[in-house]
């Protein structure tokens, strides 16, 4: 879409600094936390210290009496339901019983932060602690405490209490008839998205109209959620997010604190800023779902895959915000596949979307096991992948472009796999080098989004798109697509974004869809503008031309996917358990790359995040009390610059017929193969396979002893 075949691109496809880089690095950019409104109050949230408890009584008298306190809301006074906070049950802003450490109990608005915090301490809550369960498998045992009526297996979309099932072929027969069978268990943990910008929301009413300055990945979604939950007309809600500092999936929807700020602002008649601490961010919003994965694989001696079976359990916390899927089997061609995944309620922090939500943990399990199978069959791990990788989506639909194979071949060549690969534990000394690889794929969906363009007589183009730029460089991407499509210099395009009163609908920066959806709308709007120019000529004097598009493209008979293969080398000190990633090559097929500069950053960031997930990150719980112990950057041991390796990035740039200028998705794919590749390299270095994430020093030294 958007390009004459064979015509070289002028603007798009060249490394381009972000159009808002100057504002961001000089402090001129206004993030949500910077928003100050006249007469603004500050709000804080009181949260449950218990993982599961009934509330016998809340005494607000002392808090209300504190000078400077303007409003206190609890379940008694606030019946608002946060609909995107739970797709299966009614989740109120304040719940009784409380179901995890951090479940909101009350919110206070006061003249400043300190008064609001002091007021929280003056609220006396009498809890009746209930039994709790943290482990998703224990939660399904008979006799486990029911977190919601009906039990802890979260119902499916139709309300049936059954696991999510995918089947093709006959997996039992495939396992039975294969030459060899492999069986193993892999686990992953809850860890936080750890985005830089903390949580904050500012709400202000003007009569019946509500404005919320949010830190959100999608102003359109946030607005429709707010309108729905506060029972307002969508046009009476405005959501603004001019600059935002990252989310990685945990800022997709409107959040309970956005709603609380709106309710407190309505009660007090003043603007309200509600802020969360980093501790709250880590425990009270959501992180990646932890999994237990039980695999059975049938394979013939020549390496042909015959069957893959997965029985999985995902701990969703007490509220169901997302699918809980465990993804990965679509990487392989295999006639007999069965996956049975149980999304389970627990009393841990809520689990939901985090960069490729179902993937890196599922691919860690599956790609670790496939690696194990390859070694057991004495087949080179790369050859084993080439022999078995998916050529059609679920062996059925053809892919719209590109594929895994090209990524594996390009990555292996750039990495020098053949020269670098050695048998496991080849080094004699305590510092052992090893190499590993893994594959990944991710849907590059198409769909509805809008763009509006205004051309004035000076030749300036104002491009109105509802993106917020979560760090992906979306503003720059949209400007590049517009400039290329219109054939104008980049600096004549000004992007107007991040405000639902100024911008049309955008799908929001989730699911790696912004370029595919909103970028496609930009191409269509440019086409409209060019037609108008052709018909009416360029605008003169005070006249302007306005063009718009709301395309809703569909795919037919194809699966549109992005692909990746990562190759890396580690050094493992087997006497200290220290792991260093010393070389990293990432090969990606994301179609045409709109901006190689920001695209490369996406891959580096995703790869680095994956190393952190592989080696460090876990929200650790005290099992006796159900209290999380290490919420925050320090405790989570999030990767630092000193930990991050140099990542060599290769794009295959196969143009896709359905994307703007041939582009496919890129934001999420880079974290998918990274975790498994680290684990596989550690195996190659040491000859020991750690099957539980994260591969900490404690686990690694235990495996090596």
């Amino acid at each position: 879409v958007g390009e004459e075949a064979g015509v070289p691109l002028k603007t798009l496809g060249h490394p381009t600094p972000r159009v808002d880089a100057f504002e961001r690095v000089t402090g001129k950019a206004t993030y949500t936390g910077d928003v100050l409104r006249p007469g603004m109050l500050y709000a804080r949230v009181l949260r449950s210290p218990h993982p599961h408890a009934r509330i016998r009584r809340i005494d607000l008298a002392q808090a209300r009496a504190l000078p400077g306190v303007k409003a206190v809301i609890t379940r008694q006074t606030c019946e608002v339901i946060w609909s995107s906070g739970d797709s299966r049950n009614r989740r109120y802003l304040f719940n009784d019983p409380v179901r995890f450490v951090g479940d909101p109990v009350a919110a206070v608005a006061a003249v400043d932060r300190h008064v609001a915090e002091e007021a929280l301490r003056l609220i006396a809550v009498d809890y009746e602690p209930l039994e709790f369960v943290l482990d998703p498998e224990e939660a399904l045992q008979p006799g486990a405490v029911a977190i919601h009526p009906g039990g802890n297996l979260s119902p499916d979309g139709e309300g049936r209490r059954q696991p999510e099932v995918y089947r093709r072929g006959d997996v039992e027969e495939g396992l039975r008839s294969a030459d060899l069978r492999f069986e193993d268990r892999y686990t992953s943990v809850h860890h936080n998205n750890a985005q830089l910008e903390p949580r904050v929301s500012v709400a202000e009413w003007d009569g019946g109209k509500l404005t919320v300055w949010a830190s959100t990945q999608g102003i359109s979604n946030c607005r429709s959620d707010l309108a729905k939950d506060l029972k307002l007309a969508p046009e009476d809600v405005r959501v603004v997010c001019k600059f935002m500092g990252g989310g990685f999936g945990n800022k997709n929807q409107c959040h309970d604190f956005d709603l609380m700020a709106a309710v407190l602002a309505r009660e007090t008649g003043a603007p309200v800023k509600l802020e969360l601490t980093r501790r709250e961010d880590y425990t009270c919003v959501h992180g990646r779902w932890p999994t237990r994965q039980y695999y059975k694989v049938g394979v013939d001696r020549d390496g042909t895959l015959r069957a893959i079976q997965l029985r999985g359990y995902s701990g969703m916390g007490p509220y169901r915000k997302s699918s809980g899927q465990i993804a990965g089997v679509e990487l392989y061609r295999c006639p007999n596949v069965e996956t049975v995944v149980h999304p389970v309620y627990t009393n841990m922090a809520v689990s939901a979307n985090f960069r490729a939500p179902a993937y890196p943990q599922g691919v860690f399990g599956l790609e670790s096991l496939m690696d194990h199978v390859a070694y057991a069959l004495k087949i080179d791990p790369v050859e084993f992948r080439l022999q078995n990788l998916s050529r059609r989506y679920h062996d059925e639909l053809p892919y719209s472009s590109g594929g895994l194979e090209a990524c594996v071949r390009r990555g292996a060549e750039a990495f020098g796999w053949k020269a670098r690969w050695r048998p496991p534990a080849a080094d004699a000394g305590p510092i052992k080098r090893g190499v590993g690889m893994a594959m990944g794929s991710f849907a590059a969906r198409v769909g509805r989004s809008s763009a509006v363009m205004r051309l004035d007589a000076s030749g300036r183009v104002f491009l109105h798109v509802g993106v917020t730029d979560v760090g992906s460089g979306a503003k720059t991407t949209m400007a590049l697509i517009a400039a290329e499509a219109l054939g104008v210099p980049l600096n004549t395009v000004e992007v107007v974004s991040g405000d639902t009163d100024r911008c049309p609908y955008s799908v929001g920066e989730s699911g790696s869809r912004t370029t595919g959806f909103t970028g496609y709308a930009v191409v269509e709007a440019a086409r409209d503008l060019k037609r108008q120019i052709e018909a009416k000529g360029r605008p003169q004097g005070e006249a302007v031309l306005i063009a718009s598009a709301t395309p809703d493209p569909k795919l037919e008979g194809v699966a549109r996917y992005s692909f990746a293969a990562h190759f890396l080398e580690v050094e493992v000190d087997v006497e200290t358990g220290r792991v260093r990633v010393t070389k990293y090559v990432a090969a990606h097929d994301s179609g045409r790359i709109v901006n190689p500069l920001t695209a490369t950053s996406q891959v580096k960031g995703g790869a680095t995040m994956g190393i952190g997930m592989a080696l460090h990150e876990e929200l650790v719980y005290d099992r006796a009390t159900g209290v999380p112990l290490n919420p925050g950057y320090y405790g989570a041991r999030v990767m630092t610059h000193l930990d991050a390796p140099e990542v060599e990035v290769h794009f295959l740039e196969v143009e896709d017929a359905h994307g703007p200028f041939g582009a496919k998705s890129l934001g999420e794919p880079p974290i998918i193969p990274s975790v498994a590749a680290v684990a596989n390299a550690i195996f190659n270095a040491t000859g020991r396979r750690v099957k539980d994430l994260p591969i900490t020093r404690e686990r690694l030294l235990a495996a090596l002893s």
Partner: protein, 331 residues
Amino acid sequence: MKPLANVNARDLPHAASLLAQAAKDGRRASLAGGGSDLLGLIKENLVAPDLLVNLKSVKGGGDVAPGADGLTIGGLVTLDALSRHPLVRRAYPVLAEAAESVATPQIRNVATLAGNVCQRPWCWYFRGGFPCLKNGGQTCYAVSGENQFHAIFGGGPSYIVHPSDTAPALVALDAQFRVVGPAGERVVPAAEFFTLPARDPTRENVLGPDEVLADVRLPPARPSSRGTYHKVLDREAWTHAVVSAAIVLDFDPGGVCRGARVVLGGVAPVPWRLSRVERMITGQRITPELASRAAEAAVERASPLARNGYKVPLTKTVVRRTLLSLAGKAS
């Protein structure tokens, strides 16, 4: 956060008298040097002072002063300044390396030596506000809880590990700590400054509630001595030591070790001195065999909890490698 008052101390006796006066008045007071640890403690509601006694107003409180009897280092020196000080780097590298290994550049720019030495533990039960022994309760939650980062030596009833990197280095250097109180001052050897929880589980050192750690005095450095700080951490920056070793060895011209200080961090509620190891290697040439035997001896008294057993082999490796690296430098 509740309101609090700030008083700028003129000098350290003034600071001590402010602490004493506050105690008399029934007000809670906290010392603020760099404030990097205090701010976190206040934000997590682990301390709630009525009064901050600001030490940054004390002139010369961070001076590094060489003298005939060694080096005096003001407690208010920042870790960054300490780690860059040419004399410290040259004569007391174990201390410079320890200071340099702390946290992040941002923290080292404000955090002080005295604050680092007196830092509260980073046990996640303590920092998480559990009603544990350190928070005035009756239980150490680590005993049967998540104890992967806790003590393998000297634990009981509390199993925290001392979080300071500079403390093991100062013990290894035989530093003397000058402590100022309202009634005067006293000098405490570094090794006696830190106290085990068996004595009082609510504190980590001998400082009274109205006392201030004024400065540390290092004995003259011998040109023949070598020291280093080896820190194992779970990422490359901004974590406390999983295990660390501050080792200072003195070698005769023939390369025989004639004096040794071997002190561990990250493994015990105090900087953990390995006197037996020191005796084993004194008078010896440090060979790989001796280093291995010393490493075995280092963990003889270790009693790990359920999840920190990995610290035992890790400690052995750290002791062996650090001894050998110093022996290599000596020859």
